[in-house]
Symmetry: C2
Subunit: 370 residues, 2 copies
């Protein structure tokens, strides 16, 4: 496969800790229900999975936010739970509710049935990646993604979302051996899944450890981080001569930044509870030395305030990270602007315009003032 | 008022960083739905508020867990939302659902109507405190409590629980002036409320900042911590010649331990994401020097595993804190065992027995081995 050359590589350079002219921005869940055009496509598709499994629809909604906002990256429209669905657990989304699995995994018999799925069952995802990459035509890079092994396990054991994680933690505390078996299978499946997305055209990949933050200290390291590492250790570093950055985001993982710093990945995503300035000192590295690029971390609820206040809060986040390094000859600390969680379905789209504009303008200004 | 002398002051001594023979233990929400005898009393009372506002019932359920388990403290049976209820917001609990307010506070007109309530409206709480203290007859100390100003504000603005805090954060980001007005009133109300509980017989008081952890870095300090400090600055340090320890628990506050260390309180509560050994180094202080006692931090979900596994995890928490100081002549680092959040209604009571026994036995053994 060959694709059009990239016109805006700001995001990819920032991922690799290379100096950029502005701070790139994209938003988790940037294609989604807050956009009326998304809702129109979803209505045509009939259901969430109808949307996600149809290459044309998935392509259409992935590009929608780029038509409105000068974002610096696109992210595959899909769901983090496609992998357990391909394992045969039967994923559905009832309207207005979260994901549900027809079967859950709570005992040894259910674990015995688990295996890394045939990647052919996820062909619709890889086809969507290729289709989106073509449709982007080099405008911005395309990010592929997956849920982390632990986050997938949460849904697989609970059978859906949870507010107390009782089922998955009961299994973890009473049968840690079974939990480790699930996580090992998930890790190998996620690695194959992300590698196949890379082959299909994804130019960066992100692991969403959405539920790592619910674990106790010690358990996070053993049941989440260890398996994210197992994924990363199997990932392609390059494809067709291009470096493929690897991003890891653990929601609620701020306490474990030192542990996460040991992961073989390029970028760490942070939620809004983290002080960016401290995080930069902790894991951002020095100019000329190794380190992690940082991605985040505006509270998505800021987008409910007026556009001027959105701009003020965006600037606060940029200033909290501080001036990214500007020496083009060496790597150094870089920042990718994002929310600290997915954008809310209730967000007014014009507030997103204000955000993107503020990030681009102010981050250019910071570099000029330097 | 005079009460029977205290027979077990282990908890109070540990709060004041004094050496104890064992690590005291009590559990957040220890009187509650996981106990069949609680359900029986609640059925008699008809509703949650019927239970909380009836002095005899509140006394009965507060003592129930002590009949089953040799816990080292009792905690007033009440709700964190009694104060906004007394402000006239109309608190109700539908069966199987969370709290709901009849009126919410989302605009200037609603804020204008807010004031520190007449403490007479909370007389049922103070009467319960005195009744429980009498019924305890010196067995263990009685803890009084309140929600933190920020946590109360979350419910007052949202009108109930929330999974995204959209309403309260929209107000905070768009009208910080109004949010500060709400928080100042809440802080002064909470201070009066806790001081009146102390006068009624509470021997320690705890501020539950249950939702502080949802705030962004920077906002936590301005909108939660500052008002918890305003409460603490007004609290009685002593009553009838006895020191009254002050406890602050911010769920999800582990990242801000250094900030919380500056609070004028005796004990900091921690959830399970925090490494107790690190927290001790950070805020526990040295033998002979100042510092905070630490309270926590077992994941309540551990209680769904088998009793032997519960014991193993409890020991892990004790060992993570390490040996508390043992010199009776000076203050030093101490640990109060607790969960990192309220006990689940689905907990098997016999697992709680295993927990209390393990904490008492192992913590005595640690001291003997020293």
């Amino acid at each position: 496969m060959s694709f059009a050359p990239l016109q805006n590589d700001t995001f990819l350079r920032a991922c690799l800790r290379q100096a950029t002219e502005h701070t790139p921005i994209w938003l988790m869940r940037q294609a989604g229900r807050y956009l009326p055009e998304y809702k129109a496509t979803r209505a045509k598709a009939g259901s969430f999975m109808g949307l996600a499994t149809n290459v044309d629809y998935a392509t259409e909604v992935t590009l929608q936010p780029l038509e409105r906002f000068p974002l610096d990256a696109a992210i595959l429209f899909s769901d983090i739970l496609t992998v357990p669905d391909a394992m045969g657990l039967g994923l559905t989304f009832a309207l207005g509710e979260g994901p549900k699995f027809a079967r859950h995994v709570r005992d040894e018999a259910a674990v015995d049935l688990l295996a890394v799925p045939d990647m052919d069952k996820l062909r619709y995802v890889f086809d969507a990646v290729t289709s989106i990459r073509r449709a982007l035509n080099g405008r911005v890079p395309l990010i592929g993604f997956s849920g982390s092994p632990w986050t997938l396990a949460c849904y697989m054991v609970e059978g859906g979302g949870s507010d107390d994680y009782r089922a998955v933690k009961t299994l973890m505390y009473s049968r840690p051996d079974l939990m480790h078996r699930i996580l090992a299978i998930n890790a190998d499946a996620v690695a194959q899944y992300l590698n196949t997305q890379i082959e299909a055209g994804a130019q960066a990949v992100m692991v969403f450890d959405s539920w790592g933050g619910v674990l106790a200290d010690g358990n996070f390291q053993d049941f989440s981080l260890a398996y994210t590492r197992r994924v990363l250790n199997q990932l392609k570093q390059e494809h067709n001569g291009a470096r493929i950055p690897h991003i890891v985001f653990t929601k609620g993982g701020g306490l474990w930044l030192d542990d996460m710093n040991t992961l073989p990945c390029d970028v760490l995503g942070l939620d809004w509870t983290v002080n960016l300035s401290k995080a930069r000192r902790q894991v951002g590295g020095d100019v000329g030395g190794p380190g992690k690029a940082l991605q985040g971390n505006l509270d998505p609820n800021v987008l409910f305030a007026a556009p001027e206040q959105v701009a003020t809060e965006a600037i606060r986040v940029l200033e909290s990270f501080g001036l990214p390094h500007t020496d083009r000859s060496v790597p150094g600390p870089t920042h990718i602007f994002n929310l600290g969680h997915g954008i809310s379905q209730f967000t007014p789209p014009e507030h997103v315009s204000a955000l993107v504009e503020a990030v681009h303008n102010h981050s250019r200004q910071m570099r000029r003032m330097a």
